[in-house]
Structures are given as C-alpha cells and as structure tokens.
Symmetry: C2
Subunit: 145 residues, 2 copies
C-alpha cells in the first residue's frame, strides 16, 4: 500500500511550487526521491512529512540553514532538545526584533501619510520626510531597532 505521489501532488500538499520541491532536493534539504521507469519523482509518506516540515518552518520564518539544523536534530530522537529549543528561541527573538522595527516604521509612515493630504509635491511631507532624517519622529530615542 505504498502511497507514492507525484511531485505535483506533493507540492500541492505542502503548499508550494513544484520547482521549490526540486530545489530542496537539489540543495540537500530533501533526500533524492524514488523515480518511475519514466524518470519521474515519487514521494512516500515520510518524504511528504519532511517536505511539510520544511514548508511549515519556512512559513514560520526559519531560514533553510536553520531548517537544515532542525532536520538533522530531528533525525536523532535521543539527542537533547536543547539545540532545537535554541534555534526556536533565536527565531523568536528575530521575530520580536522585526516587530519592534516595523512598529517604528508604521508610526513614521502614519505620520507621513497623515500630514500629506492633498497639496502639491513641493509641500509633500512624504517626500520631505524621506529626504531629511531630522524630520523623523524620534530616531535618536529608542536607540535599539
């Protein structure tokens, strides 16, 4: 009852493009797939699981490098959880940094857009603010992101 599927179905199930799956194989993130007589790739359930893992991790923002590490950890079930935890923590911190950064941007953009209501370019806050750092909200303040 080996339920092998073609690359198209595998990609569909993982929510990515066919090329992406081939790319993962190419860079060694996925092992080489079995082939049909006609040289087409076939994916087993465990292949699919690995692919889903990768896609899910990508959606969570993990880099392929981090995913590679996670996979090699996952392949050793007796290993301590510590390293996987560390990778996830690092990812979480990165996400927090990005959120902080984006919130600052959001404020600045809101200010820009708010002050630019009609008028001509010569008086445009958007252009003006972008051209002059000193017109930024409070850039010399938080200092960290």
């Amino acid at each position: 009852m080996s339920e092998f599927v073609t690359i198209g179905r595998a990609a569909a199930r993982a929510g990515c493009k066919v090329q992406t799956v081939r790319y993962y194989e190419q860079i060694g993130i996925l092992p080489e797939a079995v082939r049909t007589e006609g040289n087409q790739r076939l994916y087993s359930e465990s292949h699919l699981q690995r692919l889903v893992f990768v896609r899910h991790a990508r959606e969570m923002g993990f880099s392929l490098g981090a995913i590679r590490d996670l996979l090699s950890l996952a392949d050793d079930p007796d290993h301590s959880c510590e390293a996987a935890d560390a990778i996830a923590c690092e990812q979480l911190e990165q996400v927090n940094r990005r959120i902080t950064h984006l919130r600052a941007l959001k404020q600045e953009l809101e200010r820009m857009v708010e002050q630019c209501r009609g008028g001509v370019i010569a008086d445009c806050r958007v252009i003006e603010v972008l051209g002059d750092h000193s017109k930024c909200a409070d850039r010399t303040h938080g200092a960290r992101a």
Copy 2:
C-alpha cells in the same frame, strides 16, 4: 563653495556601503556622478540629498521600484501629492500586514518554545509542531500528542 565629497564619505553619510552607492548609479536610481581627473566619483550636496532620500526610504521598507517612482514625483514639485501619498499608504498597509503576520508567528513560536523545556528530541514540541500543521495554535486549545 562646491563641497564635493568622495564616494566613501557619501556612503558614510548615507549609512551604506560604497558598493551600494555605485549600484544605485548603475541601475539609474542615482544620476552619474562627476569625476576627478583620476576618474573617481565626486558627489555634490544635491547628489547626497538624493542618496540620503533613497537610503531613508529603503530603511522604511520601500522597494527600489517604489523609490524610483517617489523620486520622479519629487522631481516635479508642481505635481499633485496624490501619487506619493498612495505609495506611502501602500507601504503602510504592507507594514501592517507584516506586523499581523509576525504577531501570529510570535505566538506560535512562543508556544513551541514554552512547551519545549529540556527533554529529548523524541518529545520535542519544536520539532513536533513544525512537522504537523494540525498542532498549530489555532486548532490546539486542548490537543496533545
């Protein structure tokens, strides 16, 4: 009092690498710079302003395409402000979308990390959650493996 500066100083003032400045010239974001007898680029104050504008906009997350548009708008001071406003609004929306996305990630990562305290890979929530969509936040108010 033509205060021309070399590319190194220009880059330093804009907070980017020398190569980046040359790259901007190459793709037409910045006009070609004047050269010394020895073929080295020199930047005037207006050049510098444009470069600072570009870098600031990049820091705000605008794509080079959007920046190109903003620049051509900025070059026409009598033009209506509308288009610049629209670009900034689109950017603001993008930032909002990203923040929303990142907040969801943050939650999921926090859950993963929280539940993975010590133990071995075989029981690791990080690995487990990444390998199984059904264990994601929105469905797992009571689920366990």
